[in-house]
């Protein structure tokens, strides 16, 4: 399979001298569901901006399905759809018109534009709002409108910058389902998000950018495999007084009916249950204290990919 996106030694220095990207190279395979993570100001949006022609690069090469964005920008742009982080439509335009116009900018006849607008507005649950001005939509609807707009020219690569920011749980889950269906239909998806549960749930491969440099680029499975320890929260049926000593010593008391336990990934959870059971402690429920990727992400930003503390 080809690469959907190839970024080669990309640099960006803004007019004020700030170097946002310091030579990023990255490949995203066709059909992938790819997460691009990093803290605020790391360079994610700049990278996406360059790929989508919203930001001019200082140096480097970008190819979309092997079409160079400098030499063959027309073909490259046709294959690319962008859902930006900020709402960027004319709030006074009717919803349907926004989609038909966007199709027109890609050379799609108005009649076909209306047909596609109907299709994607129905898919995203916005058909009833087609005559409404965009400003009348709720936050979740505006996000869905931007997804519909990005799909109207039927791109093969879809880039979403924080697509579920500010939407409620129900909308978020329906958007995840929709994105999975798109990916299953063959559309390559690149996602930036601060919601690491989202990245872990959706993406197969991941890159982490920090301070304009790529600090990690691997599969989600491999990355999560590096997590040696997981912290769980245990809810107990009855209050517990003094904590029993367990081997290894990994238990902490939060309150009378809540315990926290660190478990090595190689250790069986059954052994823990057996030990607790021997001391008459009955566990009602168990959950991860934090999202696994979040734990790892914070650790990498603080200590680097090799686990060494940063100066």
């Amino acid at each position: 399979m080809d690469n959907a996106l190839t970024i080669d030694n990309l640099t960006k220095t803004y007019a004020n001298g700030f170097q946002a990207l310091k030579g990023i190279s990255l490949e995203v395979r066709e059909g992938d569901f790819f997460a691009l993570l990093g803290p605020n100001g790391a360079g994610k949006s700049t990278t996406i901006g360059i790929v989508c022609a919203l930001v001019t690069k200082s140096a480097g090469k970008v190819r979309i399905f092997d079409h160079d964005i400098d030499r063959d920008f027309s073909r490259a742009k046709r294959l690319l759809g962008l859902v930006p982080q900020e709402f960027n439509f004319n709030i006074f335009e009717p919803v349907e018109e926004i989609l038909v116009n966007q199709a027109g900018y890609f050379g799609i006849e108005r009649k076909t534009g209306f047909e596609r607008a109907e299709r994607y507005l129905k898919l995203l649950g916005l058909w009833d709002k087609r005559r409404s001005q965009a400003r009348e939509l709720s936050g979740g609807m505006k996000r869905r409108l931007m997804i519909a707009r990005a799909l109207v020219h039927e791109p093969r690569l879809l880039i979403l910058d924080e697509p579920t920011a500010g939407v409620d749980i129900e909308v978020r889950h329906s958007m995840w389902k929709f994105l999975r269906e798109l990916n299953a239909a063959g559309i390559t998806i690149i996602l930036t998000t601060h919601n690491l549960e989202e990245a872990e749930n959706l993406c197969r491969n991941i890159a982490i950018i920090d301070e304009g440099r790529l600090i990690e680029n691997t599969s989600m499975k491999q990355l999560l495999g590096r997590l040696h320890m997981e912290t769980f929260v245990l809810e107990l049926r009855h209050p517990v007084g003094r904590l029993p000593r367990l081997e290894p010593d990994c238990l902490r008391k939060i309150d009378d009916t809540t315990l926290e336990v660190d478990i090595d990934r190689d250790r069986s959870v059954n052994a823990l249950y057996e030990q607790l059971s021997r001391h008459g402690i009955e566990v009602l429920s168990m959950r991860n204290k934090t999202n696994r990727l979040e734990q790892l992400f914070l650790h990498m930003l603080q200590n680097g990919t090799d686990g060494e503390e940063r100066p």
């Binding site: 700049t46 901006g49 919203l54 900020e86 439509f89 116009n101 900018y105 050379g107």
Partner: protein, 257 residues
């Protein structure tokens, strides 16, 4: 993008622009018509009757072409400067930037939108002027070509203003402090032969003088400026502004980070 797709993209921008000013016609078409009607009443009828003739025509007949041209100029400019700056302000310029439309087509599309509004307002003002005077059409070809070229020129100027503007103040500075004075001093209300020679020469540095006089020539057959020079100046400015607009959009000045 092949020619067929480019034509669709161009048509899309034009339709979007026309729908934009058409949706808010009470703000875009009606006010200039009322303003120019007041000029007709006050300067044409009330004061004009005491002024007498100018260049062999009644004062009303003399100022009608200039007032139509003034409405075309200000509205072509205003349409593009507000629309394009609005696109920048709301970030929906990004809809165009992520698409494969070449820069020259974006410029052409917005320019055509400005021309459409300029001509719509010009037609409305012309219709109103017929209540005040009997219009003559000395040379319709000159009327049509000059009004088209002038509205193209000022649409492009409005586009450039919007590209460089960083706030809403920036899009009102040029119309207020440059465009309006140049229009008023561009021979709309008088022939420059009334001025001392020095000020006649200074007036010749004002490009709007050439447009107003060429347009008046189309209606009345009189002009302070040779018609050839008018065409040369208007075409020259239009070509230069088009080239600059395409270039600044191509390098992303004011629209790309």
């Amino acid at each position: 993008m092949n020619l067929h797709d480019q034509l669709i993209a161009y048509k899309t921008i034009v339709i979007k622009e026309v729908l934009r000013f058409g949706r808010i016609w009470v703000q875009t078409i009606v006010p200039p018509v009322i303003t120019v009607s007041l000029y007709f009443v006050i300067f044409g009828n009330l004061i004009g009757s005491r002024i007498g003739e100018m260049d062999g025509f009644s004062y009303m007949d003399y100022i009608v072409p200039g007032l139509i041209m003034m409405a075309v100029i200000t509205n072509s400019y205003a349409n593009v400067v507000s629309s394009f700056y609005g696109c920048k302000f709301h970030h929906n310029i990004e809809e165009l930037l992520v698409s494969p439309i070449p820069s020259y087509l974006i410029v052409l599309g917005f320019m055509t939108g400005g021309v459409a509004r300029g001509l719509a307002v010009g037609a409305a003002v012309t219709a109103v002027s017929m209540f005040f005077t009997e219009l003559q059409f000395h040379n319709p070809v000159v009327i049509i070509t000059i009004v088209l070229l002038t509205s193209m020129l000022f649409s492009l100027a409005g586009l450039l203003n919007a590209v460089f503007a960083r706030s809403f103040d920036d899009i009102s500075i040029v119309p207020t402090f440059v465009l309006t004075p140049l229009t008023y001093l561009g021979g709309v209300f008088y022939t420059i032969h009334l001025l001392p020679e020095f000020w006649q020469n200074v007036s010749r540095l004002n490009p709007i003088l050439y447009m107003v006089n060429a347009f008046r020539y189309g209606f009345l057959g009189v002009s302070d400026i040779g018609i050839f020079w008018s065409y040369a100046i208007i075409i020259g400015f239009t070509a230069a502004l088009y080239g600059i607009a395409v270039y600044v959009l191509h390098i992303g000045l004011g629209i790309r980070k």
